[in-house]
């Protein structure tokens, strides 16, 4: 097994009267036990060039020699924020998309996914601006 950790810190000196600093570290393990995840896509960079939605993870499908099932995904929009109106929407279920949220330039997200049928993860650009993203998946 491997040992992979994810650490997040959320901090602000002025969103409340007192400083806020939330921090947490998680070790990425398989479901229901403490065995570390052993597979990863590695860091991957993609560029979207149109307004067409794309499937980033085709849940259950065999890609990169492995069937990507349950895992954790990190996605970052590497574009500049620009005028603040351009983003890529992260979606679940390509056949009937459900919005998670918008990644504006510079934004990232990190979340678990179950990888079962209907658990595809998609990206839906707000416009045709060339958008570069990086992602990495750790999975069972």
């Amino acid at each position: 097994m491997a040992t992979t950790t994810a650490t997040i810190t959320l901090s602000s000196a002025d969103i409340a009267d007192n400083n806020i600093s939330l921090s947490n570290t998680a070790t990425l393990t398989n479901a229901g036990n403490d065995t570390g995840m052993t597979k990863t896509t590695g860091l991957t960079r993609v560029t979207l060039e149109s307004t067409s939605p794309v499937v980033l993870i085709d849940a259950g499908a065999t890609t990169r020699l492995n069937t990507i099932s349950r895992g954790k995904i990190y996605i970052k929009n590497l574009n500049d924020r620009g005028d603040g109106t351009k983003f890529v929407t992260v979606e679940m279920d390509a056949s009937a998309p459900v919005e998670i949220g918008r990644l504006y330039g510079g934004d990232f997200c990190f979340f678990p996914f179950d990888g079962s049928a209907g658990n595809d993860i998609g990206l839906d650009p707000s416009d045709g601006t060339s958008t570069t993203l990086e992602y990495i998946i750790f999975f069972e």
């Binding site: 040992t3 810190t9 959320l10 602000s12 969103i15 349950r70």
Partner: protein
């Protein structure tokens, strides 16, 4: 405006033959702005009860109800499962769509655009299509979550 930052790092010395060390920092801005920081947040700790051991009738709760005040903008959500038994988990969903499972010690950080499409009332949203929902499995789960958001619908007091 306020300045709130999120920093994440992903590290492993042995999942590949070379070490992985990724780090990124972002500032939480309002959607449609170049650099206006989010000014509102909710930070909660909650125990999600279990009423049926993983069964089909186990209750799915609204962790964060959808709201027109939050809709189609920038909100950022952090959720952490504070349980310690590795078999304990919760599923996090948007409406009927499961995003994924948070096992004990796991966290997630996502943008949430709260894509409200159903009709909703001012005090009791009838549409439930984009609420953040949670369901506990195996045991009750203690969660901490923080929502950095663009607005909140305050309910008119009944005696106002």
């Amino acid at each position: 405006m306020a300045t709130t930052t999120a920093t994440i790092s992903l590290n492993s010395s042995d999942i590949l033959s070379q070490a992985i060390s990724l780090s990124s920092t972002m500032t939480l801005y309002k959607g449609g702005t170049t650099a206006t920081g989010l000014e509102q947040m909710n930070y909660h700790r909650v125990i999600v009860p279990i009423d049926d051991y993983g069964g089909a009738t186990a209750t799915q709760f609204d962790l964060i109800p959808e709201s027109a005040s939050l809709a189609n903008n920038s909100n950022y959500l952090y959720i952490c499962n504070k349980n310690t038994d590795v078999t304990h988990y919760v599923t996090i969903s948007i409406g009927a769509e499961v995003i994924g499972s948070l096992y004990a010690g796991d966290f997630m950080f996502i943008p949430w655009s709260n894509d409200v499409t159903d009709t909703q009332g001012a005090t009791d949203p009838s549409g439930n299509d984009t609420s953040i929902e949670v369901q506990a499995f195996v045991a009750s789960a203690t969660l901490e979550y923080a929502l950095f958001h663009v607005g909140e619908t305050l309910l008119t007091a009944g005696d106002s």
